[in-house]
């Protein structure tokens, strides 16, 4: 395995919150803001290393997830939109590209719709945020933390490669914190917005929508809604892959990103 990615870690004050940020890659390269899943984000992933070769990679942790302090007042993913706009302003980054993973895809889509001029490219991976026309977004309240994380992978060996076959108790505690914050933000309607389908039309950034063909978390039928709302967007369906495309097929996913952003 390659040497671990050397993150520069800092806490950036945004709206009174010390937001945890990990940053890697060449400064001056195109900035890429990664918005993580509702299960938080591992520190070291092959996809991080791959993207940090070409981009100024920004990996913040949502407040209330992992080690970022919870904001008890937050009630909607749109609150995170304001936080991340604040982060980009604090870092003096006028035009980033957004990579939104699952729940983070919802935040990214909201960001790009609320500030259409601000973003270079938009990449959404199995995004939540829109009610699928067929099926429902998997309700994590009804399944164990491990089962929910496993549901994100088509190939369970890929899950084990990231989290271990039996995730540690520390990992379970982290997932429970993440889950609690997700409930605080998106309990009802669960993990989707009734206005986002309409707001997508405001987005100007060229968009790439990526979906694992075997996604068990967000039914792929939702891709139709995103494609209908994002004129000119490209859709890439990754075969033999679950929801967590960036973790299950990192090399293939990295190619999709670099082909799209450049």
């Amino acid at each position: 395995m390659a040497a671990p990615l050397a993150w520069q870690e800092s806490h950036i004050p945004v709206a009174g919150l010390p937001l945890r940020l990990r940053r890697a890659g060449p400064r001056g390269a195109p900035p890429l803001l990664v918005l993580h899943r509702d299960s938080g984000t591992p520190d070291q992933l092959p996809i991080h290393a791959a993207l940090a070769e070409r981009y100024d990679l920004l990996l913040p942790e949502h407040p209330g997830y992992g080690q970022s302090e919870r904001a008890p007042w937050m009630r909607h993913p749109r609150d995170l939109v304001a936080i991340y706009q604040g982060l980009l302003a604090a870092l003096d980054i006028p035009r980033a590209s957004l990579l939104g993973l699952g729940f983070g895809g919802w935040i990214a889509a909201e960001m790009a719709s609320l500030a259409p001029r601000d973003f270079e490219r938009l990449i959404l991976v199995g995004p939540m945020g829109i009610k699928p026309p067929q099926g429902d977004i998997l309700d994590q309240a009804l399944v164990s933390h491990t089962d929910y994380a496993r549901a994100g992978f088509h190939d369970q060996a890929a899950f084990a490669a990231v989290y271990g076959a039996e995730p540690s108790t520390d990992q379970l505690v982290e997932w429970d914190l993440c889950r609690e914050m997700s409930f605080r933000l998106a309990w009802k309607p669960y993990m989707h917005s009734q206005t986002l389908p309409h707001l997508l039309g405001a987005i100007r950034a060229p968009a790439l929508v990526v979906w694992g063909a075997e996604d068990k978390v967000v039914p792929i039928s939702a891709a139709d809604r995103f494609m209908a709302g994002l004129p000119g967007a490209k859709l890439a369906v990754v075969p033999d892959c679950g929801a967590c495309v960036e973790m299950e097929k990192p090399a293939e996913f990295a190619r999709l990103v670099t082909d799209f952003i450049g």
Partner: protein
């Protein structure tokens, strides 16, 4: 001492093999296994049992509610409370309680409870609970805001009961343009509030801070004593002396004409314990955000089968040995209850007498034997131990209505 009769109102007539096959008898266990003909029979038997409980001398009838599970048929405790308000004459109707966070409109609860209080001519004790974890999922209520909703709904209901309307409520979880319920309680300043619970420290502290009696639900003697220590320390901090009149205790106690029969029926208590152990679903019973943060690690370990349940119950024989379940003839039960009363000194006792598939006839016999033999003996014991109820001690309804406070700082721990 105030002695209450309690049953969970079990619906034990579902096919047990289906429950075992599904692996849980809660939340997602299909209601296609509910038989409304049996439900109708059971509801009416429970009414007969409650009426008998009053006739034989119980001081109160304790009611509760649960959702999506056969261990408790009461989906709305206020319905039975309303029935008892009309069907009984003397007993206190003790709600333990209405799950406040599940209410989208607490004013409706305030109205219903006020009606029950008036119809019963002032016999309502209006306990409040947070509701179990799975109740949040069954009713679509956000578990992460459970405690905030509990406290805000309580404050709103008490204000609606005590302050003349109309007023406006712009809260965090509840917003009401016009609060002006036409029905208000008969009891002044408002009906007594008792707060039941199992393991949450925060709830014990909250109850003591409001001077509301705390009812320990089927806890061990050791757990109960720890709860009282915490309650009384908090009471001292806010300025009153804790003690039996603030301490309630729910025990599983079954009495029958023979020891054998009593033990056979008492085994039915473990049927219900499936909810908390074998047939509960660890994920559903503890959604993220529902429990105290200090219990987070314990619950996530339990949910993966790595740890035992923080609510774990030992075997039936151990529970009999340790007086967790008390069963026998009146003579046996009286002696064991005396041990428990000496060790825990409650001023309120709830006797959870019949559960599972105990027959109607045996339930009625149990209630009759309680009245004829056990209750008089318990009252003697209570007298000897000086265990007074809040009614006997004439305690104030709440801290805000207390005139004897002497707050002093005490290190909680």
């Amino acid at each position: 001492m105030h002695i209450m009769y309690f049953t969970e109102q079990p619906m034990a007539t579902y096919p047990a093999d289906k429950g075992l096959e599904f692996g849980a008898t809660a939340l997602m266990f299909s209601n296609s296994h509910f038989d409304p003909a049996e439900g109708s029979r059971l509801y009416n038997e429970y009414i007969e049992q409650y009426v008998l409980a009053e006739d034989v001398g119980f001081d109160g009838i304790m009611l509760n509610e649960h959702h999506n599970a056969p261990f408790c048929m009461q989906a709305k405790a206020n319905i039975f409370a309303a029935l008892l308000a009309g069907l009984t004459k003397r007993v206190k109707i003790v709600m333990l309680g209405n799950p406040l966070p599940l209410a989208e409109n607490p004013i409706r609860l305030a109205e219903e409870l006020a009606m029950i209080d008036m119809i019963s001519k002032g016999r309502l004790v209006s306990g409040f609970v947070r509701g179990g974890g799975q109740e949040q999922l069954a009713t679509g209520v956000n578990p992460a805001f459970n405690r905030e909703r509990f406290e805000e709904a309580h404050d709103l209901i008490v204000k609606a009961w005590t302050q003349p309307g109309p007023f406006r409520w712009e809260g965090t979880h509840y917003q009401h343009r016009v609060v002006n319920p036409w029905a208000v309680p008969l009891q002044k300043p408002y009906p007594r509030v008792w707060v039941p619970g199992v393991i949450s420290r925060e709830t014990v502290i909250w109850a003591a801070q409001h001077r509301y009696p705390y009812i320990a639900l089927n806890t061990t003697v050791e757990q109960t004593q720890k709860i009282w220590d915490l309650y009384d320390a908090t009471a001292a901090e806010v300025g009153f002396q804790g003690g039996p009149e603030y301490h309630g205790y729910l025990k599983q106690v079954h009495v029958a004409e023979t020891e054998e029969k009593a033990l056979e029926n008492a085994r039915q208590f473990t049927w219900m314990q499936g909810e908390f152990t074998g047939l509960a679903h660890p994920v559903w019973s503890t959604p993220a955000g529902y429990s105290s943060p200090e219990n987070r690690r314990g619950f996530v370990e339990f949910s993966t089968g790595r740890g035992s349940s923080p609510r774990r119950r030992p075997s039936f024989d151990e529970q009999i040995r340790d007086n967790m379940i008390i069963a026998g003839t009146p003579k046996t039960v009286i002696a064991k209850l005396r041990q428990v009363m000496e060790a825990t000194r409650p001023g309120i006792m709830a006797l959870w007498a019949n559960d599972g598939a105990v027959s109607h006839a045996d339930s009625m016999t149990c209630i009759r034997l309680f009245g004829e033999e056990v209750l008089p003996a318990m009252r003697e014991t209570a007298k000897a131990l000086d265990l007074k109820s809040p009614f006997e001690a004439e305690t104030p309804v709440s801290l805000a209505y207390s005139q004897d406070l002497q707050p002093r700082p005490v290190a909680a721990e």
